[in-house]
């Protein structure tokens, strides 16, 4: 079985690619069957990836045989030979497993979520190509293949974020994501050029082998010093770290499954993979941890920044988006303090609970007709019992509730590693991370208590399909015929009528909020089985994934990843004695206390006494506004970068329109002018023509005589 999977490992990316083409072809004949090829492909890829993972786990030496397997030579130019070759080790196998596994669950969820949408085949085609590029990214054995996947992931995210392209916000978000990523990609590209110039190869194995030679490192110390910074820029772009984090919250303009895919399985985890993979480059110069310290600082700061912003957001998905940025900050912090295993462990657990949170939010959004403002809903647990449970599990995992949430294990490990780090930045950043853990628990349960507890209160749009800009589902949505149950909120009902009169709601039918007795087939509910079954699977993962790294339970993940990532910490630790600033029991106690404090605080303000929250908010209005406006970072970018560029472009457009075009028109005018001046020679008179011919002959004779004079 393992041999089979190893031999056909190239099918892992290929299957989604084929599925992409097939789903696209469904556009013509079988619109509603477009999900079948991608899901089958994902199942196939997942089985192969899981087989590889288990096989390598059983016998780590097997990974050695999976290095640099060339399927075919892609191209070669001079000394650069690029094959379509894969290298699969523990890191890649783990990544492949959760990319395809969680991807598969998201695909299944999407079948229910995207049902009846105009772009159904297009959606699945894009999703498949997304997975294809992500697999390329983690499977490639050279920087160039990684870059191929890297750019491809950027493209796929652009297509998916802008999926609702008639909606200007979606288009703007797609452009923002793409352009912000370009900034990072630029850094990565420069890094690649430097690597090729320095090492004359782009193959991971060859590059890392050269680094073993101290003489070589000394000879190229400048390039080797700067290469990590370039790579880091790429990772920050893709993984949404400050200052390139601004695209991720806007990326939720895509359909919710896209957000889940971007935040959990693909895209943002690529940055962690990149740095984990190229760790030798970061540690190339002994004693020099400048690059890693930068990574740790940026990661720590970003996690704090995003957590504070998440405190004051009202959009459910936006809260989870900032929490992703914050959690990614943790991962970079772990990388920066040379604990890559912990970082990857957190990627792994985070993939489960973030996918769970997004898909649950998607279910809420689906039921509420596209509304996600937590101020407009309350007590939703009564109409969506399953979603409530899954969302609770996701929140527990994110907050890091001891022994239940997966985040508890991985997050505490990172904080512990930071606090006990050799690097100078470790201790302060570890302390900051503790604070962030508190904030995380607080904002997570703030959203949870606001939405799912308290008196039942639903937005007017509840029960409708999310207003698709393609507006094709007006006639055949199954939910719209719910009778108006009177509504609990006349204001909302009135709003709903207004919306209906504007033709924004499907079929012009008004649906008020379901009142509890109306929770089965109509109105807001948990949705079809294809939607809640993936949620349950993810919920199990969100609880169970953490135990893979639990020491009494065997600590599988560390044993598994150590052959690849375990060596770095030791190499650095050899220079000094082990530090034990914060012992494990103390850390355990902190890990117990902090999430619980956060949760209790959230419970007090957002369930027990919601009025108190408003009072606190009113008293801290400037802070709230500062956080609500996301530290004004977007505004600063707009004023400092976008506006000057736009102004410059404006000037350029005038130069182009009047100067350049003017010259072009002038040039084009000359032939016409010449033509007009010659037109009198063509009056159609036979005699004139004859005279012209004779004159021409005469001119020839005269001219020749002149030449020969």
């Amino acid at each position: 079985m393992f041999q089979f999977a190893a031999h056909y490992s190239w099918l892992i990316p290929l299957l989604p690619l084929i599925a992409c083409v097939l789903a696209g072809l469904c556009m013509w004949k079988a619109r509603n069957a477009a999900h079948i090829p991608p899901i089958l492909a994902m199942i196939g890829s997942f089985i192969l990836a899981l087989t590889l993972l288990i096989g390598i786990s059983q016998d780590p030496s097997r990974a050695a045989h999976l290095q640099n397997n060339q399927v075919f030579e892609w191209f070669s130019a001079g000394s650069l030979h690029i094959g379509a070759s894969s290298s699969i080790d523990q890191l890649t196998a783990l990544y492949l497993t959760f990319i395809t596994g969680i991807g598969l669950l998201i695909f299944i969820f999407s079948v229910g979520y995207m049902k009846g949408d105009f772009g159904f085949p297009r959606f699945f085609a894009y999703m498949s190509i997304f997975v294809f590029f992500m697999c390329c990214l983690v499977m490639g054995n050279s920087f160039l293949l990684l870059y191929l996947g890297w750019e491809g992931v950027g493209l796929a995210s652009y297509l998916l974020i802008g999926y609702y392209y008639p909606r200007p916000a979606a288009v703007a978000a797609a452009k923002k994501a793409f352009i912000t990523n370009r900034v990072g990609d630029f850094g990565l590209a420069i890094g690649l050029f430097l690597i090729f110039q320095t090492f004359n190869t782009l193959n991971f194995t060859d590059v890392f082998a050269r680094l073993q030679d101290p003489a070589f490192v000394a000879a190229h110390h400048t390039a080797i010093y700067w290469i990590p910074f370039c790579i880091m820029l790429g990772a920050f772009g893709k993984s949404a770290q400050f200052p390139l984090h601004v695209w991720l919250p806007d990326a939720m303009e895509g359909p919710t499954p896209v957000s889940a895919l971007i935040h959990a399985a693909t895209m943002v985890t690529a940055g962690i993979y990149l740095i984990a993979r190229t760790m030798p480059l970061f540690l190339a110069t002994p004693g020099n941890t400048d690059a890693l310290d930068t990574v740790a600082c940026i990661g720590g700061f970003t996690s704090f920044l995003a957590a504070t912003i998440a405190l004051c957001q009202y959009d459910l998905k936006r809260i989870w988006a900032y929490s992703t940025i914050s959690q990614l900050g943790y991962m970079f912090l772990a990388l920066g303090v040379i604990a890559p295993t912990s970082a990857v462990f957190h990627v792994f657990t985070h993939a489960f609970f973030k996918a769970l949170l997004f898909l649950s939010s998607g279910a809420v959004m689906h039921a509420m007709g596209g509304e996600l403002d937590i101020r407009k809903m309350s007590g939703v647990r009564r109409v969506m019992p399953i979603t409530h449970i899954t969302m609770l599990i996701g929140c527990i995992a994110l907050a890091g509730v001891p022994f239940i949430g997966a985040g508890f294990f991985s997050k505490d490990e990172i904080i512990h590693a930071a606090l006990n780090s050799h690097t100078p930045v470790g201790l302060p950043l570890g302390a900051l991370a503790l604070l962030v853990a508190l904030l995380t628990a607080f904002y997570t349960f703030r959203a949870y208590f606001r939405v799912f507890w308290g008196p039942l209160e639903l937005p007017a749009t509840a029960g409708h399909h999310e207003a698709s800009p393609f507006a094709l589902d007006a006639g055949h949505t199954e939910d719209v015929h719910s009778p108006d149950t009177g509504g609990i909120d006349t204001v909302h009902a009135k709003q709903g009528h207004e919306e209906a009169s504007h033709g924004e709601t499907a079929g012009g039918q008004m649906v008020g909020a379901g009142h509890g007795h109306d929770t089965d087939a109509h109105g807001p509910n948990d949705g079809p089985a294809v939607m809640w079954i993936p949620l349950i699977v993810l919920a199990i993962g969100a609880i169970g994934a953490g135990y893979l790294g639990y020491k009494p339970a065997g600590d599988w993940i560390h044993h598994f990843l150590n052959p690849v990532l375990g060596g770095y910490g030791h190499a650095e630790g050899a220079t000094g004695e082990a530090i034990d600033r914060v012992s494990e029991p103390v850390m355990m106690a902190l890990g117990f206390a902090i999430p619980l404090i956060g949760i209790v605080t959230a419970w007090f303000f957002f369930l027990k006494n919601r009025h108190a929250a408003e009072i606190v908010g009113a008293n801290l209005r400037p802070v709230v506004r500062f956080l609500y406006n996301r530290w004004y970072i977007d505004a600063i970018y707009s004023a400092a970068i976008t506006k000057p560029l736009r102004f410059f472009a404006y000037i350029q457009s005038y130069v182009d329109r009047y100067l350049v075009d003017g010259i072009v028109f002038l040039v084009g005018f000359f032939p016409q002018l010449l033509g007009y001046s010659l037109k009198p020679t063509q009056r159609g008179l036979l005699q004139r023509y004859a005279v012209g011919m004779i004159a021409g002959m005469a001119a020839v004779i005269v001219g020749i005589l002149y030449l020969l004079r």
């Binding site: 084009g668 032939p671 016409q672 010449l674 033509g675 007009y676 010659l678 037109k679 020679t681 063509q682 159609g684 036979l686 004139r688 023509y689 004859a690 012209g692 011919m693 004779i694 004159a695 021409g696 002959m697 001119a699 020839v700 004779i701 001219g703 020749i704 030449l707 020969l708």
Partner: protein, 557 residues
Amino acid sequence: MELNIVHLIPEIILLVTACLVCLLGLSSSDLVRRSCQVLAAIACLLGLGVTIATHYIAVNNGTLQSTQAALVNFRYYNPQFITGLACAIGFIMVLISWDMPARSDPTSTDTRYRGEYFGMMLFSLAGVAMIGKVNDLVWLFIVLELVSIPTYIMVATGRSQIIAQEAGIKYFFLGALAAAIFLFGFSYIYGATGATRFADIREALGGSQMAALNNPLALIGILAVIVGVSFKIAAVPMHFYTPDVYQGAATPVTAYLAFAPKTAGIIAIIAMLSLFNFNYSTPEGYSVMILLSVMAGLTMTIGNVLALLQRNIKRTLAYSSIAHSGYMLVGLAAGPGLVGSTGEVGHDGVLATLFYLGSYAVMNTGAFAVLAYLQGKADAGEDLDDLAGVAREHRGPALMFALCLFSLIGMPLTVGFVGKLYIVNTALSSGRMALAIIVAVNAAIAAAYYLKIIGSMYLREPLYPFSLRRTPAIRAAAIICTVGTIALFFVPTILMLPSWGYNAHDSASAAPLIQPQNASRLGAVTTPASANLRMAIMQSAGSSAPADGLRNTQFVR
């Protein structure tokens, strides 16, 4: 070197059929009259078959060199190429003319003048087929008139509209004037050398290998012939008639005018230049080169800038025909290149011109074929507005028209690109930098009016419903030409047939003209990706030709 009667079989077929068709056209039976064009088409195909067959028989027998006629004294271009081209394009012309002569009444099935029309066309085609084989001034004159005089009749009777008659009269009078001028030139040449046979004239000008122009009388004669014959190719200063006649004639006749007299004229000019072996090094020879260069520059510029202002498509294509003559003259002004060098097509101006002639025949005939197809039976609809939005309903014809026009622009993936590439390359390799620049500028100007037609077809709304002339024969002609336009980009060697006979000056001492490995290499060039690659292959093929025994003429300018 002497022609065998065998090599005139295609012409004989065409002439006999012409007579037959003229007779059949007198028949009282409509059915018999209708068989005229079928016979004409068969004659053309037969002629083409015989041409190819004799060529291959000669190749197989190894007697090709002995059967070559001297198109150019010191270099051998296979005149059978022109015969084959005349028969092949002639066949397409017959297809385009299937409904001819056009009547203003679209429902009319009048076939009374059909015999005359196709008879005249075949006579003229016979002249074109023969033009490459003449070796005497008298013959040259007769053949030139054989090409032209039937076309006067075709212009006047091809269409029952007054502008056709006007065009016919204009064409006839101006053609007579042009004939007078080049006949005048012939008399000067005869007066200077005392001979009419080309070989004797060369002897008189310094010997067949050393011929050079240093006799003022002969110079005047050759100048007059070139200027006079420039009427046939519609070049400055004899270009004035072109738009009026092209516009006035029925579209199939216009297509024919753009091919037959032009081919004959270019070959006649090559024959004149070969009288002094393209030796541009003497002052007199140099002045001929200057004349050709100036004519080329003026012809393309005047043709293109005037075409810019036209709204009538036939008139536009008439000016474009003038411009393309200018491009062809560039190759002649460049000359065949250094004699010592190998004669690859990219550096041999005469070969480049012959190639351009063939490619222009294919793409321009294609354009006229589509135009004829798009016009109603009444021969209306030749204005730019008439073609507005044609692509909406008639995608096939519009696409074919667009492809032929792209080829006339010289876009890659069409044969027009290869032709322009060779022309510019010969201009550069012979040091005529200015001409190369003028060609490039003119190509840019030309793109404007061709694109205007394409834009009208594709970007505008139809002004009124469009009725096609649903004649399968015209459609077939358009398809053949369009496919040829694309295919010849990939397999241009077909149009390099004139170089098959290329070799040293003395056929008796020369190695076999088609060496087996040469033939296989030429045949193998079927899948090149780019023209550059192809040129490289051609060069390597040409380089295996023996370079001994060549004249040591220095082309100083």
